[in-house]
Symmetry: C2
C-alpha cells in the first residue's frame, strides 16, 4: 500500500462501512439506553446525560469487526462487550473533563460543568462499576478479567501523564509508554475480546489484539497532532492547548529534540510553565520545521505494523474490515495534511 | 440482651477478638502490600500511600468472621476478598476526600492534598480497577458480580447524598436509603460473600448478608452521631461539619421534625446555606432535646435486627463472632454516651 492509495480507498469505503455497521450500532445504542434503567431512579437523569451517543464509536466498531460473521448477524455478546467498552470510555471522559477543567465536550456542557465535580467523580465511578457488572454477565471470567486489567492500565497511563505534565524532558519512550497504556490498551482489548467472543481461533485473537494496540497508538498520535495542526472549528478546541498546559506530546518532543541553544531552552521553559506560552510562535516553528510530516510518518509506521499483524488472515471477513478501519484513520491524517496545504 | 450487658461483654471481648483475628489481619496486610507490585512501577509510590493500613478493618473482620472455621485456618480466599473490599473502601475514601476538600485523614495528608485532585481521581479509579481484577481471580463470576453491584450501589448512594446536600426537607426514608446504599451495601456483601466463600449453606449466607446490612446501617448512624456528639480530639474533625455543609443526617432530621415555628425555619435555612451556621447553638439544642438518646435508639434497633437475622445459627462459630462485632459497635455508642455524661 502507499499513502495516497489508502486514503483514496478509505474515502470510497466510508459510506459502505457505516452501512455495514448500522444494525450493530443501532443495537449498541438500544443496549446503552437500556442500561439507564439499571441505575437507581434518583440518578438516571445524570447517567442518561453521561451516556452520550454522539461519539465516534471507534472502539465498538473494532469489536464488531473483530468478531464479524456477516451483515445480518448482530451478536448480542459483541453488543454487550461494545457497551462495556463504550461505558468505560465514557467514564474516563467524565473524569478527564474534571481534571482538565473542561467546560464543553461534543458541543454540550461537560458532566463536571453541568452537575459539579463531586457528582462527576461519582458518576464516573458508577459507570465504571456498571461496566464491570456487565462484564460479569458472561459465562466465564475472561471478559471481566481483561476489562479490569485494561481499566487499570488506562488509569495508570493517565496518572503517569499527569505526573509528566510540566516536565520538559519527556523521552520518546516515556510518551509511547503513556499512550500505550491510556489509549492503545482499550483498543487492544476491544479487538482481542471481540474476536474471542465470536469464537475465532486464539492466534487470530492475539493478532487482532496487536493490531488494535498499534492502531490505538496511531490514533492517539493523530489526536495529539490535531492539537497543533487541526482546524480549530472542526476539533472544537483551541490549538496548542497541550503546549500551554505543559503536556509534551510527540510533535513537541520531536521539535524540542531538533532545536538547539536558546530556542530549545525557550521551549523547555515554556513546557515547565516558567514562561508564558507563545503558542503562535511555536505553531509557526513547527510548520517550518516539517514536524507534521515527521509525526505523520510515526502514525504511518504504527498503522503499517498494525496491518502486518493481521496480514496472514485473508480468509477471515474480519481482516479486511479491520484493515478498512486503519484506512479510515490514515484518511483522517491525510485530510489534515490537505487542510494544512490549503491553509 | 440489654444495652449495658452488651457493652460490658464487648469490653471484655475486645482483646480476645483481636487476638483471634491477628493472623488473619496480618495475612491481609501482607496481601495488600503485595498488590502494590501489580501496579506500574511509576505509580507504586502513590498506590502505596493510598493503601493505608491504619484503618479499623471492620469490613475485613466481618469477612473473616462470616467464613470462620477456626483460629489456625487463614483461608486465602477470605484474605483475597478482604483485600478486595478494603481496596474498594480505600478508593471511596480517596474520592470522598477530593469531594469534601478534606486535608487530613487518619492523621496524614489526604491523597488529594498530597498529590493533587487529578491524581487522586485517577488513583481511586486505578484502585477500583485493581479490586475488580482481583475479584476475577476466583473460579466463578459470583464474587466479581456482587462486588460490582456493591460498588455501583455505593456510588449511587454517594451521588444521592450529594444531590440531597442543602435540601432541608430530607425525609427519614431518604436518609435511610442513602446510608443503605453508601455504607450498608458493602457490609452486606462482606458478610454474605465471606460466608459463601467458606462454603456455608445458602440460607446462612443470606442471613449473614442481612446481618451485615443492618449492622452497616447502625454503623453509619453511629458515625453520623459522632459528628454532633463526638469528642473532637478522638474523631479528629470539627463537630457539626454536617450541619455546616448542609448534610441532613439522622440527628438533624430528628431535631428538625421536633422543632416548630421560627426555630424550625431557622434550622431549615441553615441547612439550605441561607444562614451562617450557628453550630454551638444547635449542638446545645440537640443536647437539651435528648436527640442523642433518640439516635441511640435507632442504632439499637438496627443492631437488634441484625442480631435477629443470625439468631438461628447457634451451631456455627461465625454466629457468636458476628454477634461480638455488633457488641463492639454498640459498645462504641455507649462509650460516647458516658463521654456525654461526664462532659
Amino acid at each position: 500500500m502507499n499513502a495516497s492509495q489508502e486514503s483514496e480507498s478509505a474515502r470510497k469505503l466510508l459510506p459502505e462501512l457505516f452501512q455495514l455497521l448500522r444494525p450493530h450500532l443501532s443495537a449498541l445504542d438500544a443496549f446503552l439506553e437500556e442500561q439507564i434503567a439499571s441505575f437507581e431512579p434518583e440518578i438516571r437523569e445524570q447517567v442518561n446525560y453521561c451516556i452520550d451517543t454522539s461519539g465516534k464509536r471507534i472502539r465498538p466498531s473494532l469489536i464488531f469487526f473483530s468478531g464479524w460473521k456477516n451483515e445480518e448477524f448482530v451478536d448480542p455478546n459483541l453488543v454487550k462487550l461494545a457497551g462495556i467498552v463504550e461505558i468505560i470510555h465514557l467514564a474516563t471522559l467524565v473524569h478527564d473533563d474534571i481534571m482538565d477543567e473542561a467546560d464543553m465536550r461534543r458541543k454540550q456542557d461537560t458532566v463536571a460543568k453541568k452537575y459539579g465535580n463531586t457528582t462527576a467523580v461519582l458518576l464516573g465511578d458508577a459507570l465504571f462499576s456498571h461496566a464491570v457488572y456487565l462484564s460479569t454477565q458472561f459465562p466465564t471470567n475472561e471478559v471481566c478479567e481483561q476489562v479490569a486489567v485494561a481499566m487499570r492500565n488506562v488509569c495508570s497511563g493517565e496518572i503517569m501523564q499527569t505526573m509528566q505534565r510540566g516536565d520538559p524532558d519527556i523521552t520518546l519512550e516515556g510518551y509511547q509508554r503513556v499512550i500505550n497504556l491510556k489509549t492503545a490498551e482499550l483498543f487492544r482489548v476491544s479487538c482481542s475480546l471481540g474476536a474471542a467472543l465470536a469464537g475465532e481461533p486464539t492466534d487470530f485473537c492475539e493478532a487482532a489484539g496487536k493490531f488494535g494496540m498499534h492502531l490505538g497508538m496511531a490514533y492517539q498520535i493523530y489526536d495529539d497532532l490535531t492539537d497543533f495542526f487541526g482546524i480549530q472549528q472542526t476539533i472544537g478546541k483551541t490549538l496548542g492547548t497541550d503546549l500551554a498546559t505543559g503536556k509534551a506530546t510527540l510533535p513537541l518532543i520531536l521539535m524540542r529534540d531538533r532545536l538547539s541553544g536558546t530556542e530549545k531552552e525557550d521551549l523547555r521553559e515554556t513546557l515547565c510553565g516558567n514562561r508564558e506560552p507563545n503558542v503562535e510562535y511555536w505553531l509557526n516553528k513547527m510548520a517550518t520545521m516539517g514536524i507534521f510530516m515527521e509525526v505523520r510518518k510515526a502514525i504511518f509506521d504504527e498503522i503499517r505494523q498494525a496491518r502486518s499483524k493481521i496480514e496472514p488472515y485473508q480468509n477471515l471477513a474480519s481482516q479486511s474490515l479491520l484493515l478498512t478501519i486503519s484506512d479510515l484513520i490514515w484518511n483522517q491524517v491525510e485530510t489534515l495534511k490537505s487542510d494544512q496545504a490549503s491553509n
